[in-house]
């Protein structure tokens, strides 16, 4: 029933800063199945885009270790020429910021046509134009023929993101990587774009990696969820398990931090602090310990690994067993947050 499409194994993506390499993605292992949405959540700077770019082979200067297996081919160790046969065809990507993701000097239709042309050398020009217009219609752009010859600056953010999506799906990819496709858009446009992505998935049976930091989006879209913190996956489970029985303290704090109507006025369990900069990240011991100071040092696992605690449910660290959120009063005393 579930068919594995993409297997990321022990992926480590490091950037060179001064004379040293620092891992922005550190030992990530995950699997994407056919016809599923795998959400990757985590706060800003935790390495979500770095992971997405690694899968697409878009890092030009990073050091990539580990494997990214797609149909028994390793994307991480592949010649650029071979990779270019897959990118845009088997692998599509939707980018975070539609305002900058399009070439400002090229007509929108030409930009979508480019991806068709690159992978279908025999397609005639008229056929290509037809197909682009078909795609523009598919992603819900009104007056497609007119939009074809417009430039990106003439379109709204939502329309531009539709163009980016049209480009990503032009050759019916099997894997679609969507890096925060709605973060830069306002709320109503956001849900339209998400509906569109859902529709497309139902039509094509593709596997989608949906990166987001919006748990509302996760609840609506995802089949499985991976929670990322400081370059590592701290918990991965199907969406129901993750929302109902979150185990890792970070996941729990994330879930607690969703404001909702019922709990309005209550204090939010936002864990204090931000993701440390790459150079400052502790490389030994748990990366999270600094941010939950109310847990005694002896309770932390020294080098937390991903443990399978239930079928398909992985948690990095087993000391969640000892973990408890402090009373609100105690927490406030600790951090003085409100």
């Amino acid at each position: 029933m579930t068919e594995e499409l993409l297997k990321v194994q022990h992926l480590k993506t490091s950037f060179r800063i001064k004379d040293d390499y620092y891992a922005a993605v550190d030992d990530v292992t995950l699997t994407l199945n056919k016809n599923e949405v795998l959400a990757i959540v985590g706060e800003s700077g935790c390495g979500k885009s770095a992971l997405a770019f690694s899968i697409m082979g878009l890092h030009t200067k990073a050091k990539i270790e580990g494997n990214i297996l797609y149909k028994d081919q390793d994307l991480a160790n592949m010649s650029l020429a071979k990779l270019n046969k897959l990118r845009g065809k088997d692998l599509g990507m939707i980018f975070q910021d539609p305002l900058t993701a399009l070439n400002p000097l090229m007509e929108v239709g030409e930009q979508i046509g480019e991806v068709l042309m690159l992978h279908n050398k025999n397609m005639s020009k008229t056929k290509r134009v037809e197909k682009v217009i078909e795609l523009l219609n598919k992603v819900g752009i009104p007056r497609a023929a007119h939009t074809f010859s417009q430039f990106p600056h003439e379109l709204s953010g939502g329309m531009r993101q539709r163009v980016v999506i049209a480009m990503a799906i032009a050759n019916d990819p099997e894997v679609l990587v969507a890096d925060e496709p709605t973060t830069a858009l306002d709320a109503t446009i956001q849900s339209q774009i998400l509906d569109l992505i859902k529709e497309l998935k139902d039509g094509s049976q593709a596997g989608i990696i949906l990166i987001t930091h919006d748990l509302g989006v996760v609840a609506e879209m995802a089949d499985r969820v991976a929670v990322m913190y400081a370059g590592q996956i701290v918990e991965i489970a199907d969406v129901h398990t993750l929302f109902d029985h979150p185990l890792h303290p970070y996941t729990r704090s994330l879930l607690n931090s969703i404001p909702n109507a019922e709990r309005e006025g209550e204090k939010l369990h936002v864990i204090q602090g931000i993701v440390p900069a790459l150079q400052k990240l502790p490389r030994k011991g748990c990366r999270f310990s600094a941010r939950i100071p109310w847990i005694d040092a002896s309770e932390h696992e020294e080098n937390p690994e991903l443990h399978e605690v239930a079928p398909g449910h992985f948690v990095r660290c087993t000391c969640y067993k000892n973990f408890h959120f402090p009373d609100e009063s105690k927490e406030a005393a600790h951090h003085g947050i409100s």
């Binding site: 845009g88 980018f95 993701a101 600056h153």
Partner: protein, 309 residues
């Protein structure tokens, strides 16, 4: 643009008025009675209020009358028009060389930044910034003009040529080459650096990731996406290039004894031939303003985001 030119003309008029002496001081025999000079002044309107004088000056200007050169004893208009074409050709040749050098160097330097080639090119641009043009031009003149004798050392054409003949055109080009190359080797470094920075900047733009994610090979990524977007600001740089050229021709024409407006300018300053100086300043000013306008027009043609209103 029109207000700019009006402002320019007022400034130049004021400048001309502030220069010591007037059209008469140079002409007149010192033995003549001062009262006669005063009468002559009155007759020529030199004692009129400044705005009347300015009005007459502009009126003359519009009729192509820029006054008399006391040194050459001929109308300034005629004097300048003899030299205008020489300077135009020299500027055009310099511009062509400037871009012939800048575009490949900028592209190599920007595409392979931090490579050995890039370091060499960047080193050259620093040298270019640090070298004064007139010293460099002197060295070039001495080396390739006198020492090797590859190029003529002065003038704009060999004497005794039949104007319009093929040999005449060749000789003209031959006289242009060394000054134009000297000037462009120095003037180009700004453009090289500008282009390099533009390419490095464009390289990491999001839409370049988009192009790669489509499966576009690197050559296509560069030719279709990066270069097009980085050459565009070079068009905006064009106006500045023209201003630089004007400054450059003054030195280079003087050093190469090239009969153009720049040489005339420096000569007229030393000879205190003020009517020529003010006319040239006016022309240079208008050229700069036109250069800026030209930049805007080019930019609006190549950049769809800018439309001429």
């Amino acid at each position: 643009m029109i207000p700019q030119i009006i402002l320019l003309s007022v400034l130049i008029f004021i400048m001309a008025k502030m220069m010591p002496g007037d059209a008469l001081s140079g002409l007149i025999d010192p033995n003549i009675d001062p009262a006669t000079i005063e009468a002559k002044r009155e007759q020529m309107g030199l004692n009129d209020p400044w705005y009347q004088q300015y009005g007459r000056w502009v009126d003359d200007l519009l009729h192509g009358d820029l006054g008399q050169s006391f040194r050459y004893k001929m109308p300034v208009t005629e004097l300048i028009s003899q030299r205008l074409m020489n300077t135009l050709w020299l500027s055009l040749a310099t511009l062509i060389f400037t871009y012939i050098i800048a575009i490949p160097l900028g592209i190599i330097s920007g595409r392979y930044n931090d490579s050995l080639a890039d370091q060499a090119i960047t080193g050259y641009t620093y040298l270019g910034f640090a070298t004064p043009l007139f010293i460099f031009a002197l060295v070039m003149l001495w080396l390739f003009g006198f020492h090797f004798g590859w190029f003529p050392t002065g003038g704009s054409v060999a004497p005794g040529m039949e104007p319009g003949s093929f040999a005449y055109v060749l000789s003209k080009i031959n006289h242009l080459l060394l000054p134009a190359i000297s000037m462009s080797l120095i003037a180009t470094v700004g453009t090289v650096q500008y282009l390099r920075n533009e390419i490095i900047d464009t390289k990491q733009k999001d839409f370049i990731h988009t192009a790669r994610a489509k499966g576009a090979p690197e050559t296509r990524v560069y030719n279709k996406h990066i270069f097009r977007n980085s050459l565009l600001p070079i068009a905006a740089f064009f106006g500045y290039e023209i201003t630089m050229l004007i400054g450059g021709t003054v030195f280079v024409e003087t050093i190469f004894s090239f009969p153009g407006m720049g040489q005339l300018f420096l000569e007229s300053i030393t000879m205190r031939d003020y009517s020529v100086v003010t006319s040239l300043v006016l022309l240079f000013g208008i050229a700069s303003i036109l250069g800026a306008l030209l930049s805007d027009i080019i930019l609006s043609l190549v950049d769809p985001r800018i439309r001429i209103k």
